[in-house]
């Protein structure tokens, strides 16, 4: 019954996403694209941090690796799919390597190691002009063609992005609902106990980083043709911090948390535009209040609100 209703819910949302940009300007389509792009990256971080319990402040650098790989490949007139594949595989491998520190250190220490990695990535992207275009960045990446269909129009590209995002979400959903998902959570909740029950903690920790990072790479593969311009500044530590913010604000370890968190980050400035210069301050205050009152994020808040009338009803009965 529960699965059934959730399926209906998902179908409604997907239908809404399909009709959302119709009759709207290109802006809305673009905005929705950037949301879906960030949602993919945030979903990856949520796997590493929310499910497996290992923090990473380097997600922006993986978006960067994916975006640079896709840009370089497509600017050389190879198809987008190849660029995306190169980017995702590269991120998987680099993510695996970044997982090694996680075998030694935890928490804040791991946060600082990954943060340092992101800063080093920025320096490399800026200094190695021959590969990355340095501070000028790379621009003019073509949007992919799917058979005879070009996605260079904003609406077409939106549907392309939507398809990729849905695919990514479905794959992630399958992962977290498979025995792996249970193993990731077990790793997060009690590593020693999980190992005593046969879990190869080392391998799973590395995998958590590798898969989460690969999702960053996929987001980068969308960002390159979406913005058609990338530069090192788009992938600096601040972006990683804001992705972390999205994941926690949405609801850590909740499947739909990052989707919601990134929606807030992208759409809130729009909703708060009436407040002009104050919007970022309002956002910051809202985040502080949310965190102090409800560390479970928006999904946690929704649960709490959903649970309250039920409790009241229960009380009335008794």
């Amino acid at each position: 019954m529960r699965g059934h209703r959730e399926a209906i819910g998902v179908a409604v949302v997907v239908a809404a996403l399909i009709v959302a940009p119709l009759g709207q300007g290109n802006y809305i389509a673009y905005l929705l694209c950037s949301w879906l792009m960030l949602a993919i990256a945030a979903m990856g971080l949520n796997l590493t941090l929310g499910y497996a319990g290992r923090i990473s402040l380097a997600q922006a650098s993986f978006i960067g690796i994916g975006a640079y790989a896709t840009s370089i490949v497509t600017l050389a007139h190879y198809p987008w799919v190849l660029g995306m594949a190169v980017g995702v595989v590269l991120c998987f491998v680099v993510g695996l390597l970044l997982g090694f520190p996680a075998l030694r250190v935890r928490g804040h220490y791991l946060a600082f190691v990954t943060l340092a990695f992101n800063s080093l990535f920025f320096l490399v992207a800026r200094n190695e002009d021959w590969l990355t275009g340095g501070t000028y960045g790379l621009s003019g990446m073509p949007r992919p063609r799917i058979g005879p269909v070009s996605t260079s129009g904003q609406l077409a590209f939106y549907y392309f992005t939507l398809a990729v995002a849905l695919l990514a979400a479905v794959v992630l959903r399958l992962i977290v609902r498979s025995p792996w998902g249970r193993a990731f959570k077990a790793l997060r909740e009690n590593e020693v106990r999980a190992e005593s029950l046969g879990l190869d903690v080392r391998r799973l920790t590395l995998l958590a980083f590798a898969i989460g990072s690969a999702y960053g790479g996929l987001a980068g593969a969308i960002e390159a043709p979406l913005v058609q311009y990338i530069d090192p500044g788009s992938f600096d530590v601040v972006q990683s911090l804001s992705l972390l913010l999205m994941v926690v604000v949405g609801g850590l370890g909740e499947f739909w948390g990052p989707v919601l968190g990134s929606a807030v980050a992208v759409l809130l400035p729009e909703a708060l535009r009436v407040t002009a210069a104050y919007y970022l301050m309002l956002y910051a205050i809202a985040v502080i209040l949310l965190m102090t009152r409800c560390p479970g994020g928006l999904i946690g808040l929704a649960r709490r609100i959903a649970a309250r009338p039920a409790r009241r009803r229960g009380a009335a009965v008794s």
């Binding site: 498979s178 193993a183 959570k185 077990a186 190992e195 005593s196 046969g198 190869d200």
Partner: protein
């Protein structure tokens, strides 16, 4: 005589100047229930950790079914059929009771990659439900393990240790903090399980009523050495054991 299930030979471990385990050797036969007792600081937990690969002994070896496992990782031991419970509660509070119990066996099914493509429950729901029934946890099956009572969590902990069908289980203070009714229940379940599956148990326990009524054989440790080894009656009568508790 068949070969022993667990064989500990000359295990020695010191922490700085303190010798925690001093040249301990013993065998445990298949299907035996061995109780390990001794006052605080007598080296029981260190010995456990040496057997289970959590601590590397300074000398000596541990064999399971004739296979040397000294220095193995805990996950490898688990795959060899060695299960354990922890002194501190060790359930996964954010997972449901059912998921806790399913997880306890899933890592024994298929390869790492194979598990990615398995059914979400790895085909273990039925077996887990049998375990839930066996430990009478049906009422809390779908609750988060963090939301149930302490005693119930103890049962979940034990159920997890058994779920993978281990042939040797090391129980670290299973009775600690469990109320008397629940305690009788736990003892009865453990004995039944031992009878039905022939599983070997090694139990560290301070609750003497519990351990004496559960185990066929008791070994007493003091200052890192074995000071008595025999039936509960024999060990109970041993003056050196009483003295070890009362102090010199």
């Amino acid at each position: 005589m068949t070969s022993p299930h667990l064989s500990v030979r000359g295990v020695f471990k010191r922490f700085g100047p303190v010798v925690a385990v001093n040249d301990v050797s013993f065998d445990v036969a298949h299907g035996e229930i061995l109780g390990l007792i001794g006052p605080n600081g007598s080296g029981k937990s260190t010995l456990f950790n040496c057997i289970l690969g959590q601590t590397a002994p300074d000398a000596g070896s541990v064999e399971v079914d004739g296979r040397r496992v000294t220095g193995s990782r805990a996950c490898d031991l688990s795959l060899l059929g060695v299960g354990r419970t922890f002194q501190q509660l060790a359930v996964f509070p954010g997972l449901s009771v059912l998921d806790n119990i399913i997880f306890a066996a899933q890592e024994h099914r298929g390869g790492m990659l194979g598990r990615l493509f398995m059914r979400p429950d790895a085909g273990l729901t039925e077996e887990a439900d049998r375990m839930i029934e066996f430990f009478r946890l049906g009422a809390v099956r779908n609750k988060l393990a963090g939301d149930i009572s302490y005693g119930q969590r103890k049962l979940v902990d034990a159920a997890m240790a058994f779920m993978a069908g281990p042939r040797l289980v090391l129980l670290d203070e299973p009775a600690g903090g469990v109320n008397p009714t629940m305690l009788a229940e736990l003892r009865e379940r453990l004995l039944t399980y031992n009878r039905e599956h022939g599983t070997t148990f090694v139990v560290i326990e301070h609750n003497m009523d519990f351990v004496m009524s559960l185990c066929g054989r008791i070994m007493a440790l003091a200052e890192g050495r074995i000071i008595a080894d025999g039936t509960p009656e024999e060990v109970r009568a041993e003056q050196t054991v009483i003295d070890s508790y009362l102090g010199g």
